[in-house]
């Protein structure tokens, strides 16, 4: 059997992903509590990596892993297209434009729209496609602050429940896209290891459909 290397995203997404991979037998029992260990190998010779969510596309793109699990939000920020044959339906969130309550995008003191975001690629593509010139300020966290202190007119950020926005007096103006976790596969592996991968991907599709039916 051709051994595979799988890249999983650290954090909450890992908890939701593991039952689906356990269902198809592509699994290592220690993944549930990975601790500081980064690489696991099971008895069949399959290897599992636990990496930062934003690093999953690079591991798969450059062949460090044959397949991985990444949110569409992460894939949209990645500069190249990867094969994404299965939508796992987990890890739902949406990319939004949000501004302080009572403010539209047009009522602003500055001449150009200033956008604070951790997702510069998505934000830029969204506004440029509408022909709007924008100034992007890249931040690494707590975007909600930027409009509150007058540094930006709006933010582009991921929202899952909307709780954080509400607590900071921001409202969603637009949904750019909605995201769920995808199985991504390396271009070469998809073909060279197709015999091993095809039934596993089908199994994941069924496991994801089963999960959706139950919820």
């Amino acid at each position: 059997m051709t051994p595979l290397t799988v890249a999983f995203a650290k954090g909450k997404l890992l908890d939701d992903t593991l039952p689906l991979f356990q269902a198809i037998g592509l699994y290592h029992p220690d993944l549930a509590n990975p601790g500081r260990k980064l690489l696991f190998e099971n008895a069949q010779g399959d290897r599992f990596l636990v990496v930062r969510a934003t690093d999953v596309p690079a591991y798969v793109d450059y062949g460090g892993a044959d397949l991985g699990v990444a949110g569409l939000d992460v894939l949209m920020e990645y500069p190249d297209d990867l094969y994404q044959p299965v939508d796992l339906g987990i890890g739902y969130c949406r990319m939004c434009v949000a501004a302080p309550a009572g403010h539209g995008l047009d009522d602003r003191p500055g001449t150009r729209l200033r956008v604070a975001t951790k997702y510069p690629r998505t934000a830029e593509e969204h506004f440029l496609a509408k022909g709007m010139g924008v100034e992007i300020i890249k931040l690494y966290g707590s975007m909600e602050l930027a409009p509150l202190v007058g540094m930006a007119d709006c933010i582009v950020d991921l929202v899952s429940t909307g709780q954080t926005l509400r607590e900071n007096g921001l409202v969603e103006l637009e949904t750019i896209w909605e995201s769920t976790a995808r199985v991504v596969v390396n271009r070469a592996s998809m073909k060279i290891k197709h015999g091993r991968l095809a039934p596993l991907l089908e199994g994941l599709r069924e496991a994801a459909a089963g999960l959706k039916a139950r919820s």
């Binding site: 062949g63 994404q84 044959p85 299965v86 271009r187 070469a188 073909k191 060279i192 197709h194 095809a198």
Partner: protein, 409 residues
């Protein structure tokens, strides 16, 4: 301090490489062996120019290649020129320029560098070395079989054993696409989703476009039509479109012929592989090896390209990335030893040159010893007619010139 202006004196731009002798040897051997195979198949080398008019060459380039090209202004007439980003477009231009030559097929080969701008920190080169072949003039199954058989044979003759040529058929997907009657945005989105093998987006966007559910399921299955010849039966069951079925039958004939030639072990089918449809018009393919996460090269049929330069003709071809091939060969343990120095000849300068030249004439690599010469080489000392030979770490032994030049390498 500025990182832009205060560069070390030996700095090079990101994305270019300097090859010292061992690597340069390996590169030259790969290129020469590939061109050797091409030559034996009648593909004679062409040498296109390093730069061309951008607006002329752009007829044969996809927009992304144009966008990423390195452009310089021609001081004579103010027109933009581009450092060659793609040799196929140049070969198409060269073939179109030979309108009056009634003799086709043209069989051309090349070993060239190409240039492209890249994003930072993506581990992609800005200067790439390619060896390629183009078959211009005839279309049809026989021409497709020839170019693929040449590709597979060239890689085998390099010593590469484990590789796969994954073949698709852009005419198949194009026929299905036409039947869907999407608007331009819809076609673009479907093509992008197909390239990502993203069944979820395919279903969603065809649903929004009002395509019938059973047809949506058909299209959503195409990206996963991967495997051996069993794929053809699965694909035939999906459509009644005559153009799509004809495109499939063509690919099936090519695969059958390659198998009959004993080359079938390397062939697989991926009907979701469409590459760039503004460029490719028929069979497309890419070369993959297990140890490399990316393709070694690829190609396909581009029947519209030469016509864009004013003289339509069928054409197909491939290009291989020389550095990736060098890496694949090294990983497979197929790297030939670098060409070393056989003898260092010491002695009075005229005597040393006389003996060194006799050794070279006998096929050895010989240098006349200069101060600082590497110590791990056989040393020949000459003084008039007296010659001694000292192997690395050994003692000097008297030897005749005849014995030296007749020794086995």
């Amino acid at each position: 301090m500025s990182r832009v202006t205060d560069l070390p004196r030996t700095a090079v731009p990101q994305g270019v490489a300097s090859f010292l002798p061992d690597l340069a040897d390996r590169k030259r051997q790969v290129e020469e062996r590939l061109l050797g195979t091409l030559g034996r198949w009648g593909y004679r080398e062409v040498i296109p120019p390093l730069f061309e008019y951008l607006d002329v060459l752009a007829h044969g380039l996809v927009p992304e290649t144009v966008a990423r090209g390195y452009k310089v202004e021609d001081r004579q007439d103010g027109r933009l020129m581009v450092l060659r980003p793609d040799v196929t477009a140049q070969v198409a231009r060269m073939a179109a320029a030979r309108k009056d030559d009634p003799h086709t097929p043209h069989r051309f080969g090349y070993a060239s560098n190409v240039f492209t701008q890249v994003e930072a920190h993506r581990a992609r080169p800005r200067e790439m070395f390619q060896v390629g072949a183009e078959l211009l003039g005839p279309g049809g199954v026989a021409a497709d079989v020839e170019i693929l058989a040449l590709l597979i044979t060239a890689l085998r003759e390099m010593g590469l054993r484990e590789f796969v040529v994954a073949m698709g058929q852009s005419r198949f997907f194009h026929a299905i696409l036409e039947g869907l009657e999407l608007d331009a945005d819809g076609e673009r989105e479907l093509t992008q989703a197909m390239r990502r093998k993203d069944g979820t987006s395919i279903r969603a966007l065809l649903g929004r476009a009002g395509v019938a559910p059973e047809r949506i399921e058909t299209v959503a299955r195409i990206p996963y039509l991967i495997g051996g010849t069993e794929v053809f039966a699965a694909a035939r069951a999906l459509t009644r479109c005559a153009d799509a079925l004809a495109a499939l039958a063509h690919l099936e004939k090519v695969v059958a012929a390659l198998t009959a030639c004993g080359l079938g072990d390397h062939v697989m089918v991926d009907l979701g592989e469409i590459r760039d449809m503004s460029y490719y018009t028929g069979i497309v393919f890419e070369v993959l090896v297990p140890a490399l996460g990316t393709e070694l090269g690829g190609g396909g049929r581009y029947d519209d390209l030469v016509g864009r330069f004013g003289h339509p003709m069928h054409a197909t071809g491939f290009a291989l990335d020389v550095e990736r091939l060098m890496e694949a060969l090294a990983r497979a343990g197929e790297t030939a030893p670098p060409v070393g120095i056989d003898y260092v000849v010491h002695g009075p300068v005229a005597d040393a040159h006389r003996v060194a030249q006799a050794l070279r004439a006998a096929g050895f690599t010989a240098v006349v010893g200069l101060p600082g010469e590497a110590p791990d080489t056989a040393v020949v000392s000459v003084d008039g007619d007296a010659i001694t030979r000292t192997d690395a770490g050994g003692t000097p032994l008297p030897v005749t010139l005849a014995a030296l030049t007749h020794a086995a390498r």
